[in-house]
């Protein structure tokens, strides 16, 4: 009996890719038109149909209010977070506040949580895979940026479940890329994965020793991506139009939306040529209602000058990753470029300058992450003949420190950043008041000494403590980060050995009950339809 097929999914900010491994062969899942990468866009059509991928992307211009994109920037984020505010300021679709402080997207098709929108994209890939392979697909490995926090990972996993997929693993994107690069090659080297995507930048340093892929350090910037470059070009276009026609296109969201698509085009064109010229018809109306067209021309050097400061922010993060890995830049044997933004010649030049060598050119930066996810899926499904050596073994790390709040607004680090997972750390808590029967522990991710400068994950509540004088009850709390990078908590009364109820409510994502209620074909749950 052959092992079940596992769909490797790179769920990207702008685009998603699905891959499966059959035997030793990798298949990238195409759509009906043969496209191998699929825009992570969902459009709610007036007919009631939900459209995904390239067809949905085309609707960004004609139906911007009902065409949802870049939701990866929202996943696992609280409504009040700066990230959600930034997306709300730009997005043409409506984002409201939902339960558990999570953002909800309101369209003509109804209101959706961010994991539900993610689920539509994941389900689309699942269906493409099923059509292409001619068999059902029920398992997946889904990748996330290395610097995704606990809430973002939970939310991504929830999206997978809502899509009808059993998510075997949440895998870090750069680690997936490393696996795709080194799989089956028996290498002994140090490599850097330079992952510059649409929404985030990550750098990961690994040590490869035959089948073992040990992550030494990972660092990233969640506010840095190709979208920032597009927006910079949009600003330039708006400025140019303002200068010529005296009209501020910022007042016209539809025009801005069209310019974003144009900016992306210009950027991609300038990867192959030295000059790009575009003409946008009827972008605005001038005096007397006359339609105005917009022509824009830019050289590659011109673009580079406008965006070089954005690109260079990546190398500050590289410095940090190398320091954390205890590695000198000269010890890096190979660099693997991942993500669409690395197709820019400017990025390649800067990488070459920084590392002092040529990056790998034989790897497809758009597909490599999904390929790695497919390999990991197949490896996990590998039959557990304990005599057989694993084909690949990933030793990954947790990208963020985990801490708890202490008096005075400070945070105490419990799990250090870049610690290998799975990891557990114990901490002893005592009561601080007589008869105290419950305690609330605030948990955060981040390295800052001050609690509020870190990302608050949620509150851990211990209940049913033995009523006693203060300080008498000692509770050993075990914080554990599992192989998905997800936090688990256990608590035990040191004296009695009783296990305490410990739940952590992660804000900004769906609760278990909400997920259950939203499950499409959950036999135990209520069907959403009414009869």
């Amino acid at each position: 009996m052959s092992a079940p097929i596992v769909l490797g999914i790179d769920l990207g900010t702008s685009n998603s890719v699905g891959a499966v491994m059959q035997g030793d062969r990798i298949i990238i899942v195409p759509d009906a038109e043969g496209n191998r990468i699929h825009p992570s866009v969902v459009s709610f059509h007036p007919s009631g149909n939900v459209i995904c991928g390239h067809k949905a992307k085309a609707r960004r211009i004609v139906d911007p209010e009902n065409t949802v994109f870049s939701t990866k920037r929202l996943i696992g984020r609280r409504f009040s977070s700066p990230e959600v505010r930034a997306v709300r300021a730009r997005a043409p679709y409506v984002i409201k506040e939902g339960p558990s402080e999570q953002p909800m997207i309101a369209t003509r098709g109804g209101e959706f949580t961010v994991p539900q929108v993610g689920a539509i994209v994941l389900n689309y890939l699942k269906q493409l895979a099923e059509v292409h392979l001619g068999q059902p697909v029920a398992h997946a490995v889904v990748t996330v940026p290395a610097n995704f926090n606990d809430g973002q990972r939970e939310a991504t996993k929830a999206a997978g479940r809502l899509a009808g997929l059993e998510v075997l693993r949440i895998l870090n994107e750069p680690t997936a890329a490393a696996l795709a690069y080194g799989y089956g090659k028996s290498l002994q080297s140090r490599i850097a994965i330079f992952d510059f995507g649409g929404g985030t930048f990550d750098i990961t340093i690994l040590r490869l020793q035959q089948r073992i892929f040990e992550v030494l350090a990972t660092a990233g910037d969640t506010y840095l991506g190709g979208d920032d470059i597009d927006l910079r070009l949009v600003d330039a276009m708006i400025q140019a139009f303002l200068t010529v026609h005296g009209i501020d296109l910022r007042q016209a969201p539809l025009a801005v939306q069209r310019l974003r698509a144009v900016a992306e085009q210009v950027k991609c064109q300038l990867s192959d040529r030295a000059r790009a010229m575009v003409r946008v018809q009827e972008i605005a109306h001038g005096q007397g209602g006359a339609a105005l067209d917009f022509s824009f021309s830019l050289t590659r050097d011109g673009m580079n000058a406008k965006v070089v400061d954005i690109v260079d922010r990546a190398f500050v993060v590289c410095d940090e990753a190398l320091r954390l890995a205890g590695t000198d830049v000269s010890q890096i044997d190979d660099m693997v470029l991942v993500g669409g933004t690395t197709k820019m010649p400017l990025v390649r030049d800067r990488v070459r300058q920084y590392f002092g060598k040529e990056p790998r050119a034989d790897i497809n930066p758009d597909e490599v992450v999904a390929v790695g996810a497919a390999i990991q899926g197949a490896t996990l499904m590998q039959d557990v003949g304990a005599g057989e050596r694993p084909k690949a073994l990933l030793l990954d790390v947790t990208p963020r420190a985990l801490g708890v709040a202490t008096v005075g607004g400070y945070a105490d680090t419990i799990i250090q950043r870049n610690a290998q997972v799975p990891i557990e750390q114990n901490r002893i808590f005592t009561t601080s008041a007589d008869h105290q029967t419950q305690v609330v522990i605030q948990v955060c991710q981040g390295e800052s000494r001050r609690f509020d400068e870190n990302t608050a994950l949620g509150e851990l509540k211990l209940e049913g403590l033995r009523a006693a004088r203060r300080g008498e009850v000692r509770i050993v709390v075990t914080f554990e980060i599992d192989t998905d990078g997800i936090l688990r908590v256990k608590a035990k009364d040191e004296e009695t050995g009783n296990t305490q109820g410990a739940t952590i409510h992660v804000l900004g994502t769906m609760t278990e009950a909400e997920i259950q209620a939203a499950m499409p074909q959950d036999a135990g749950g209520r069907a959403p339809g009414q009869e």
Binding site: L168, Q209, R211, I212, E214, T379, L380, M381, D383, V384, G385, A386, G387, E388, R389, P390, L393, L394, L395, V404, A405, T406, V407, D412, A419, Q420, P422, I423, E424, N426, R427, I428, F429, T430, T431, S432, A433, D434, H435, Q436, T437, Q438, V439, V440, I441, Q442, A467, R470, G471, E480, T483
Partner: protein, 182 residues
Amino acid sequence: MAAPTTHQAAEEVRALVEELFAGLDHLPYYAFLGITPGATPGHIQEAFYRRAEKLHPDRFFNLSDLELRNQIYEVYKRVAEAYRVLESPAARKEYDEGLARGQFRLIRQEREGLNLKQPDEGIESPQAKRFFRLGLDALHAKDLKGAHMNFTFALSMEPGNAVIKAQVADLEAKLGLKKRPG
């Protein structure tokens, strides 16, 4: 078919896991990595990789024996912990000193009580605090009515306080004081 060999290896893994699992409360890190206390840094990394290849939970993702799988997970976490500590010269020194005193695991001393919020944190007025504490005492004595009374007093001292309100609402629900709509 290499079935007998596979079987042998599986038994070997099982025996190793059982031995280490039983030793979670008393074996030193060195045992989890299968090395002697004199091992060089190079040895430590090599030993960890060997152990990881044998015991990493990903290898047993589909193992139907859930108990064994759980044991493997617990053992592997300690193996990784041993590697993390012994790999760093400073941490290894600290560990060795502790080991000499019989501490088989490196656990840093905690400052007590610091991590907890006071139950009355967030309450400003001293009177409200006093009644709130009395309410907690009553609650501890299972005197729900008394608790409700004290929390209600506390709330009147500091109207609108969310911490007190939550306690009052909780008790009202428990005592059935609140009328249910519909």
